[in-house]
Amino acid sequence: MEIKSAISGFKFANQYSGRSWRLGLLIVTVIVAIPVLVIIASLSQPFSSTWQHLADTVLIDYISNSLLLMVGVGFGTLILGVSAAWLTAMCDFPGRKILSWAFLLPMAMPAYIIAYTYTGILDFAGPIQSTLRTTFDWGYGDYYFPQVRSLGGAICMLSLVLYPYVYMLVRIAFLEQSTAVLEASRNLGKKSWQTFFSVAIPMSRPAIVAGVSLALMETLADYGTVAYFGVSAFTTGIFRTWYGLGELTTAAQLCAFLLLFVFALIMAERWSRQRLRFHHNSANKKLVRMQLKGWHAYTALLTGCFIVGLGFVIPATQLVIWASSRWQENLNGAFLSLLLNSFSLAAIAAICCVIVATFLAYTKRVFNSRLELGAVGIASLGYAVPGTVIAVGVLIPVAWLDNKIDFLSRAWFDIPTGLLLSGTIGILVFAYVVRFLSVSLNTVESGLSAIKPSIDESARSLGAGPGQVLKRVHLPILRSSLLTAALLVFVDVLKELPTTLILRPFNFNTLAVRTYELASDERLVDAALPALAIIVIGLLPVLLITKSILNERASHE
């Protein structure tokens, strides 16, 4: 079936303007991949003696800590995300509707912010431990309290804010899953948990993998949290090598190895599911949710409240407490321009990412060959690269191009052009697309994978070209996936810091930049207001899109 559809894809590709689609795909991928290739190209440079030093001392630490972090966050986001999705998509209990959007709330919380707030609350000098000490008259060392600032702490923080990626994608997958398949499983005598593990989970595999891999890539690229917690992870190593040792090349080489590792993982995963199908043939019947009663309902509700409480309510409350003490001083005209800048940047980047992602994912679907597979794999690497490194990968080729243009223009027309692209918002948006394309791509791809190829075939047999099939058949079906993709990028850009910091134009600030500047000066109380603003703006599209997803479902029913 899959092979047949691939063959018909090729036929169709020859018949219609297949060549221009594939050429377009190549051009887009190459442009998006340039910054990543700049980093990988560093491997062709000689390896300095610093490598020996790293291998002798800290490299093992970097690698093992990053692997542990990945395993921990992988499990954390998987368990939190899938259970949240299952509860709200397949079960019914009091509070389900509220929880179904509340589960998304932690997504608006930048990882470094949640790290700051929990440290403020749980640290040795924080309110909880201080209260314990005064109540029981304990001193340092008299009692056990888990260290927030540790590898375990970092795993918890990252899992708490990254599980919504899994939740969001898996929830859509559960909702779009044919209820007939699930019913068949139940009719065959499987218990509900058996249905869950043997039918629902395997069928949602593309969504689960997409979500978890997003979370893992973000984990590998995270610098703020691990640096604040003093965990020597791979990213801290990259920056230590660059900033401390002054070895940009060695740092880029470290990063290149990280990228090769991620690329291998992505390819292995894609290869392993290449032969599998995840779409189903039955029509969407009205979804019958399992009615939870009694203590089952209470457990479901409590679990939900627990997750949302830890991931959002507690840290947000702490931020509100901090912000309320100082808001008058911090809320002014400059603050409004921060809001506008952040919002516009995030919106532009989200739109660009979704357009590029839809184009790539769709071209890959139509011409399902190794070329497309590899190209799309490379294009999605940017997400695993720490933002500052992406920025350098963007900066070097763009500045080179700018200087070349200036040189030629001087030579030919005697007109200096200066730097045309460097230091503009354009270069910033380009960097965001490079970094966050993967987020939108994964979402769009997992949406596309649920559409039967026979739909494409019928449309084509009726004479529609690839552009028309996309516009008239796929885009309407994909609407919620596209919105989700845009939302994910929007929120990510809103929280994005390091790329913005280095590439932005003069006199251009964003909420994340302001938050970081204050927090890095250890003025958490002042940092709370811009941090809250990031969360609030991030919440608006979350709510908007949850509503639209809910409506979508309602219209199916």
């Binding site: 030093h53 002798d56 001392t57 800290v58 440290t119 640290d123 040795f124 000098a125 431990q129 001193g139 340092y140 600032r149 540790s150 640096a227 604040y228 917690f229 003093g230 020597s232 920056f239 230590r240 900033y243 401390g244 040792l245 002054g246 940009l248 003490s325 516009s344 919106a347 532009i348 739109i351 900066l395 070097i396 500045a399 700018d402 200087n403 200066g418 730097l419 460097s422 230091g423 503009t424 918002i425 354009g426 948006v429 309407p476 609407r479 390091p498 910091l501 280095i502 134009p505 003069f506 006199n507 251009f508 930049v513 500047e517 204050l518 890095s520 000066d521 250890e522 003025r523 109380v525």
Partner: protein, 346 residues
């Protein structure tokens, strides 16, 4: 489907204004002064605004991490719009100098005002404020007579009593680099071994966190930059004030080379288009008014010893600062990190 076309209209309504927003900021920065600053906005913008009022020269600002700005400057080359590079440590200025990004300037005024050990020997950069790395102790548990030097904190009697942040922090790197410059590598490595063994906990958090840990009893002493203590003393936050009131400041190494200091400073770039304005800005940042401002706003010390310091700073008394040229801190920075790696300082 009317709902979808409404959505499309809304999307277009957003896209076009946003496109204008992307293209608009390609402004010319003609006679204005452009600054790349590692010093964060709130700690430099007020001074720049004041400069604009006095001279009429508009100042444009990008802030970021020192090395990232340095990379941006390097790749933009001579076409870079930047006139001035501001950093918060001497190491980055030294690195910029080595990369050939900074231009030597001859300014009698600056050379007279700023002591020789706080500027580059080739006049490529100048220190503008001093940051001292001091010992903080809990007077309840530590008698100041037990304290003397950084070196003494490697003594086994301090085992499990010392708090300090990660070795990824530039001020720790500079501290060790300064020690390598004055004591040599061998002595520094020996010191590091004993010092790291005395840590009360794995290094985490910032300098304020170390001060809080001393106040809460997790450790007896900590090494921090003095302006963080100043910031806590003058904080609006009750918790920070209270923590600050439970600790005292000790000036280390007063009987030998003096307390370790670093600078925030600036240099003029090779690409600078407005050389005279840029020089004017540096002179302005070194004048009495600006020098006092550093102390009042961020509890940093003036680079000019004759300038009066703020109340918070004068309460800590006068101190003897290390006279080592701060450029050395940059020179030995990589050696310092490798030594810290070998000693297992996370």
């Amino acid at each position: 489907m009317p709902r979808r076309s409404a959505l499309l209209n809304a999307a277009l309504g957003v896209v076009f204004p946003l496109l204008a927003f992307v293209i608009a900021p390609t402004l010319s920065y003609g006679d204005e002064l452009n600054i790349y600053s590692a010093r964060q906005e709130s700690l430099i913008k007020p001074l720049l605004d004041r400069f604009t009022i006095l001279t009429g020269t508009k100042v444009n600002l990008v802030t970021g991490k020192g090395d990232a700005l340095l990379t941006r400057l390097k790749s933009e080359g001579l076409n870079s719009p930047a006139d001035v590079l501001l950093t918060v440590d001497a190491g980055r200025l030294y690195r910029a100098q080595k990369a050939g990004i900074l231009r030597p300037i001859s300014s009698e005024k600056l050379n007279l005002a700023i002591p020789a050990h706080l500027r580059s020997t080739e006049n490529q950069w100048y220190g503008l404020s001093i940051r001292a790395r001091v010992i903080i102790y809990a007077p309840e548990r530590v008698d100041p007579s037990e304290l003397s030097t950084y070196e003494a904190l490697s003594d086994p009697s301090w085992q499990g009593k010392v708090c300090i942040r990660s070795s990824s922090n530039i001020y720790n790197q500079s501290l060790v680099a300064g020690m390598i410059a004055s004591q040599g590598m061998e002595k520094t490595e020996a010191w590091l071994k004993g010092f790291v063994a005395n840590f009360a906990r794995a290094p985490a958090g910032g300098d304020r966190d170390q001060i809080k840990a001393v106040a809460a009893g997790q450790c007896d002493v900590a090494i921090v930059n003095s302006y963080y203590l100043g910031g806590m003393i003058n904080s609006d936050d009750k918790g920070q004030q209270e923590a600050a009131s439970k600790v005292n400041l000790f000036w280390p190494n007063q009987r030998d080379r003096g307390t370790h200091i670093n600078i925030s400073g600036a240099g003029i770039t090779q690409s600078a288009k407005n050389l005279e304005s840029a020089k004017g800005l540096l002179v302005f940042l070194a004048n009495d008014e600006s020098q006092r401002w550093y102390g009042e706003t961020n509890n940093e010390f003036p680079v000019r010893p004759e300038v009066e310091v703020s109340k918070t700073l004068s309460a800590w008394g006068p101190f003897k600062a290390d006279q080592l040229n701060v450029g050395k801190l940059g020179q030995y920075n990589a050696d310092a990190i490798m030594a810290m790696d070998r000693a297992g300082w996370k």
